[in-house]
Symmetry: C2
Subunit: 412 residues, 2 copies
């Protein structure tokens, strides 16, 4: 991923157009106001002739559309602004979690055009049945998308667990799933999306990874490299390096929940001692604050905790401080290892960020050698609780923006 590496395949004649399609479309996507063809030419270094030809392809493929010209001072023929199409390909994002199912549709511009949240305790539900419900919701989403002139070009499913390259869910402890062959179970149903060359029909990945992707593509765009930590029952991290998600050799990166914060500390269900999860996991924080954890929905407990902290409840404040310190120990090590300058607290941590950030920053200041030369930012996620589903859907459209040739029917 960004590092200078040799190209994967042969550069044939058409590769040139493929690259320039991606280049121009990427510029249109990144611009903050609709650029003209002339703007794109100067920005990319291509000639206006080439840009025109490329844009013609993109217009024909419904990837961009012409917008009202951006008002400009001075003389000259008015420009025609180019924006990402709001009719055309879109991504389907799916999420299965402990107490809800989410389906959403995101268009090329990153707008959420459809969203459904289905609250239900999924733990007693068999995986196949949960997926069947999801297919049902996806069908409605697809119909709604079609009404809006959108074509679903691919789907991505977020799961709170370890996922295989093939989409096999090896283990989702809080959901009670083990070795669930998701693509196989879904293949029995109607296809979720249309088939588009270059866009896999279904990608399954960890929710923390997709949540990080959602953050990466949020507006305004985040930094190119950051650590996104989702604090739920477990603690997962999504690592974004140079604008790309780092998935590790087998896609199992980001397991930060069992970082040894207190090596001789509390026993953890993983078999170790003093794992981060035991000190900064949602259940741990809630318990430390003296709240009964009988209240089932995790977000309710989190909201309650935030209320108490807001009101100055000393137990809640102490619990949050301790959790933040534990989190800070782990985060500091990650920052030392990867030299990141931004850490995003997402998921259940986002509403607690006002109280978690200070101790995290304190640990970073104390433990990160290089913090003296350049500061590390710790901030809450800008996305809500559906970050993972939105990030999943965005990963689909981003793939099209990064490689539009597939969608346009070129060799890909």
């Amino acid at each position: 991923m960004s590092p200078t590496h040799a190209p994967a395949g042969a550069a044939r004649q058409g590769s040139l157009r493929e690259l320039n399609l991606a280049l121009v479309l990427g510029r249109i996507a990144a611009a903050d106001r609709p650029p003209s063809r002339a703007d794109l030419a100067t920005a990319t270094g291509l000639t206006r002739a080439t840009v025109s030809a490329v844009v013609e392809d993109l217009l024909a493929g419904q990837l961009v559309s012409e917008a009202d010209p951006a008002p400009r001072a001075g003389a000259g023929r008015p420009a025609r602004g180019l924006v990402l199409a709001d009719q055309g390909p879109a991504g389907l994002g799916l999420e299965v979690n402990v107490d809800y199912l989410t389906v959403c549709v995101v268009d090329l511009a990153g707008q959420v055009r459809h969203r459904t949240v289905h609250r239900a305790d999924l733990r007693p539900v068999a995986p196949a049945d949960a997926l069947a419900r999801l297919v049902d919701l996806a069908g409605q989403a697809r119909a709604d998308a079609a009404r809006q002139g959108l074509t679903l070009a691919g789907a991505a499913l977020a799961v709170p667990g370890l996922v295989d390259d093939a989409g096999l869910v090896r283990l989702a402890p809080n959901l009670g799933w083990r070795d669930v062959p998701v693509p196989e179970l879904l293949s029995g149903h109607q296809a979720l999306t249309d088939q588009v060359p270059g866009v896999p029909a279904l990608v399954v990945d960890n929710e923390a990874n997709f949540a990080a992707l959602g953050e990466l593509h949020s507006r305004p765009p985040g930094p190119a490299s950051f650590l996104h930590i989702s604090g739920e029952v477990g603690i997962g991290a999504g690592i974004v390096l140079d604008g790309a998600l780092f998935r590790g050799v087998r896609g199992w990166s980001g397991e930060i929940g069992h970082f040894p914060v207190h090596p001789q500390g509390r026993p953890c269900r993983c078999g170790g001692h003093g794992c981060l999860e035991q000190y900064a996991g949602q259940e741990a924080i809630v318990a430390a604050a003296g709240l009964l954890r009988a209240e089932l929905p995790a977000d309710t407990a989190t909201a309650r905790l935030a209320e108490l902290a807001e009101a100055g409840d000393p137990d809640a404040l102490r619990a949050l401080h301790d959790a933040g310190t534990a989190l800070g120990v782990a985060v500091a090590s990650v920052v030392n290892l990867l030299d990141l300058d931004t850490v995003v607290l997402g998921g259940g941590y986002a509403p607690l960020a006002p109280w978690l950030c200070p101790p995290v920053l304190a640990e970073i200041a104390a433990r990160v050698l290089t913090a003296a030369w350049s500061p590390v930012t710790v901030r809450p996620s800008t996305l809500g609780p559906e970050a993972a589903a939105v990030g999943a859907a965005e990963s689909v459209v981003r793939r099209i923006v990064a490689r539009p040739a597939g969608w346009l029917g070129r060799s890909g």
Copy 2:
């Protein structure tokens, strides 16, 4: 780095040839026996006509040369094998360390064609003087390279400390350097190498990073992603992801020495407590084994320790076991975070690997969730103590192999 990301610049006509030059040359470099043009055509997907044209460019530019045909069974015109040229561009690798200076020259094929090690205690020497000595050694290396038909295309300097993007050595604690502007100090001397477009004249980086690169490009080629840990007085890690060194946002990745192994443990000079360095640093191991650390050269102490362990000395064995356990705690967290499947113990750890690996593996087995599905390999580095200098030199030639257009005088 590697990840699917949009191309940086405009794809013009010549980019096609640039890409294919890199593609073909990369194949020649990666092949284990000299491939013919026909082999390259089938391997890359290009036509034989194109491959011939590309190879002609590479031959003219002295990047490859024709070798004896690989013996083949069956009829047909015999192939002409292509190998990386042993006359042509080469990389100059430099290293400043606490008790030695090293200069080496590595050719395109990765062969070390010249090597000088100058032993001296560099701590009392002013940075400018140390660099002047290095320039002297480099001049001899350049003359020797010229005698062998090699042209030095660029230089890379390994330093045991934090280095800036601009080559400023912010801090090299064991060397006593602070804010040393290396490129500036060297600019006063004769140029180390020739100027080649696309190849920076001098790159300065951390020794751990270059040592990891050396491991990456060693024969047989290592895995595409791994963690390389250099155990010296300090402990540095080089992170290789998808075949590329991961340098972090500012190039300061890999600071693993201050990983909190025992949060309430021994105070560390960094201000923290229980840092890995205090338990698995060379001085710590030597002290724990009951050896006097008055013996200055670090490699002597390490060798002595290995001898004692070999002889079954219980103090030495216990010290190594404890160090390995501490190292394992840190390594397990890194593996959990990045999902790597290979860890290489280099530098001072390499000769101690027989005793360090078992406890490291034990900690990984206990702490890495995914280790159950796929094992993690822990092995010593195959390179000797000059790994950093060789890795530095290799980084120069690798850049040429990855982007030969610059060397060939194309726009690149």
